[in-house]
């Protein structure tokens, strides 16, 4: 086996949002611990899925990697360089190498800029392809499967799927190594979603891109990602290779989450065992003591409230944070 070529390493990342208002603090409001000790690494050329439900901290983790939000503690190491203490100008060098695409493609494009101008802008900012920018823009449109006359179009003239292709072309413009994809196909209809998923796969292979793919959709993640990290309330519950996770999840939360995902097969749906979790997600400003998941966990015992379980390797490459894990494996 060749040595691992780690492009991104996140260790013990914490992002806490303080309560600004004095009055709210006096009333006892506590900081929101959106991300509270997250560690993972991503190998070059691979795709890591970051999955979980609303409020689990997956988007904040992505934003913290990009330094679009400041982290409270922990380290983000990209290609051997610690991004955590870089100033804005030093960070700009890395912004070329780390790009992002968001769920709402229309909101990520300037409505008053033509598609061509929007795609050329990152080239101008980073001083790339001088004198050949028009050519580059047309090549980018071609890469994402759009006709070159789209350079003259404006965002409002395009459909949702076409807009997402444009934001992807814009991310590719500066030849990045890592792309953070934050729910890029969640707003799209399934037939269009499939087009974009295939495009992401093809481009990854062609340009050896590395993805952090943030999504709530476990079925899409299975199709696209090599490794998957499951988050719950600011922490990672389980992280494993795709096969390990989808065929042998060990954490009770991963199991419940998987069992809740509907499968388009009536026979299977009629016979599947479904774990229905009780209650709602607790507030991230006042998480339960010990294991975050214990208030909804079907197998929680008293000692789960005592200490926060650390990630432990249960199988080679499969890590889970559960103090009862030895009883389940």
């Amino acid at each position: 086996m060749t040595s691992r070529d780690v492009l991104l390493e996140v260790s013990d990342l914490k992002v806490h949002f303080p309560v600004d208002s004095v009055w709210a603090r006096l009333r006892g409001a506590r900081p929101v611990r959106a991300v509270d000790g997250v560690s993972f690494s991503v190998e070059r050329g691979s795709a890591l899925g970051l999955v979980g439900e609303s409020g689990c901290g997956k988007t904040t983790t992505g934003m913290a990697i990009l330094r679009l939000v400041d982290h409270s503690s922990g380290r983000v190491v990209f290609d051997g360089e610690n991004l955590s203490d870089l100033d804005a100008s030093a960070m700009l060098r890395f912004r070329r190498r780390i790009q992002v695409i968001f769920q709402d493609a229309y909101a990520s494009l300037n409505p008053r800029m033509s598609i061509g101008d929007g795609l050329a802008e990152p080239l101008v900012i980073h001083g790339l392809f001088p004198g050949r920018r028009q050519e580059r823009v047309r090549a980018l449109l071609d890469m994402v499967g759009l006709p070159s006359h789209f350079v003259h179009r404006y965002p409002h003239e395009l459909s949702g799927g076409q807009l997402q292709r444009v934001t992807f072309a814009r991310a590719l413009a500066v030849e990045p190594e890592l792309i953070i994809c934050d729910e890029p196909v969640s707003a799209l209809d399934v037939s269009i979603q499939a087009q974009i998923v295939n495009l992401l796969k093809d481009l990854q292979r062609e340009f050896r891109l590395t993805y952090v793919f943030i999504s709530h959709d476990l079925s899409v993640v299975r199709n696209l990602c090599d490794r998957v990290a499951v988050m719950y309330l600011g922490r990672i519950a389980e992280v494993a290779s795709r096969r390990q996770l989808y065929e042998g999840a060990v954490h009770p939360y991963t199991k419940a989450l998987m069992s809740a995902v509907p499968i388009p097969d009536p026979d299977l749906e009629a016979t599947r065992e479904r774990v229905i979790l009780q209650g709602d997600l607790p507030s991230p400003s006042n998480p339960p003591s010990g294991c975050r998941f214990r208030t909804r966990c079907p197998v929680a015992v008293d000692r789960c409230g005592e200490s926060i379980p650390e990630l432990r390797e249960v199988n080679r490459g499969q890590w889970a944070a559960c103090s009862r894990i030895s009883e389940f494996t």
């Binding site: 609303s54 037939s191 979603q193 079925s219 899409v220 299975r222 989808y246 809740a260 009536p266 709602d280």
Partner: protein, 337 residues
């Protein structure tokens, strides 16, 4: 389309057309939809954005504003009574009492400045003529039934004090409060996280089975539909293109669009090497409906007849029909894994 095998349908729709008169022209949102809903059964309506699923529901509920909307049909019958031509006063008597609806966004469906108790008791007082006290008692019972803890204490709370899943539970309590014979759920779990979605689906299934309510479950999610529905109608460009019993439809998809939808949908139990088969192109404009099959420009399975004449409804199996000329039998095994 869906034959009622001996049973009297609780809701029957024949040749429903809904048009919107806009500045750009007439949008044919629904172009001739017919179906029967049998008592106590769950009918799924699936399709993508703009396929006309929600407008179909709103047209039945008489909630399409006219102008710009215009609803015509050969018949819409609820429990044997023609509700197509009724006036607004009569429609108000029926909505909420005999046919009720749950929408995607409970925050938009609930009034933010009224307490949950007030909104829950409204229908009870209005339709069932209960006294304030009786309505209150019934409201507590309903909240309890949809799984809201400490129901008595929560009657005075406002919608923002509930989580998304809890709000949807309140909406379901309101919808089922007068024991309607038909419940229309329009993307009722789409905005919810999967673990909460599983709770809500479980709840709707249990309650409607107990009460014998027939359900129209509108969704874009084939997985949800596979799990909850007895029969399914697939909509595309304002028309039902295929319908049938849920198992038969998933195992023997008989319209190019249904096959395309199944091919585009990633599955939790997928083979890792599976490559999704997207549907090329975009849905058609509804401004100028074509006489031929609306799916033709995107269809991979089109045959000669598709380019010559509009597809006629044909049966492929017992109560399973399609509006497609192509023979898709060779592809059945592919979708069955």
């Amino acid at each position: 389309m869906i034959e009622s095998a001996g049973m009297e349908p609780v809701l029957s729709v024949r040749n429903l057309h809904t048009r919107f008169h806009t500045e750009d022209g007439i949008v044919h949102a629904v172009g001739g939809v017919s179906f029967d809903l049998l008592p106590g059964k769950v009918l799924g309506i699936v399709g993508e954005s703009g396929s006309g699923k929600s407008v179909t529901a709103l047209s039945i509920m008489k909630l399409v504003v006219s102008p710009p909307g215009e609803v015509t049909a050969d018949a819409i019958t609820l429990e044997g009574e023609d509700i197509l031509g009724i006036d607004e006063v009569r429609a108000r008597r029926i909505r909420g009492s005999r046919i009720a609806m749950v929408f995607q966004d409970p925050m938009k469906s609930l009034n933010p400045v009224l307490t949950i108790g007030r909104q829950l008791t409204e229908a009870l007082r209005e339709h069932l003529g209960l006294s304030d006290r009786a309505a209150r008692d019934r409201a507590i019972e309903l909240l309890d039934r949809v799984g809201i803890p400490m129901a008595r204490d929560r009657l005075g709370d406002y919608p923002h004090q509930f989580s998304g899943g809890m709000r949807q539970r309140v909406m379901i309590a309101i919808a089922l409060s007068c024991n309607p014979s038909v419940l229309i759920a329009d993307e009722a779990t789409t905005a919810l996280d999967v673990t909460i979605q599983a709770q809500i689906i479980d709840l709707v299934k249990r309650l409607t089975e107990d009460l014998g309510t027939a359900v129209i479950w509108i969704s874009h999610d084939l997985g949800v539909v596979a799990g909850i529905c007895d029969s399914v109608a697939v909509m595309y460009a304002g028309r039902i293109v295929e319908s049938g019993p849920v198992r038969d439809l998933f195992h023997r998809p008989s319209h190019g669009y249904t096959l395309g939808l199944l091919g585009s949908t990633p599955r939790l139990d997928d083979d890792e090497e599976r490559r999704l088969q997207p549907i090329d192109g975009l849905p058609p404009s509804l401004l100028d409906p074509v006489p031929l099959c609306p799916f033709l420009p995107r269809c991979r399975h089109a045959v000669g007849a598709c380019r010559e004449k509009p597809p006629a409804w044909r049966d492929v199996a017992d109560v399973h029909g399609t509006r497609c000329w192509a023979d898709l039998t060779p592809y059945w095994r592919a979708t069955n894994g």
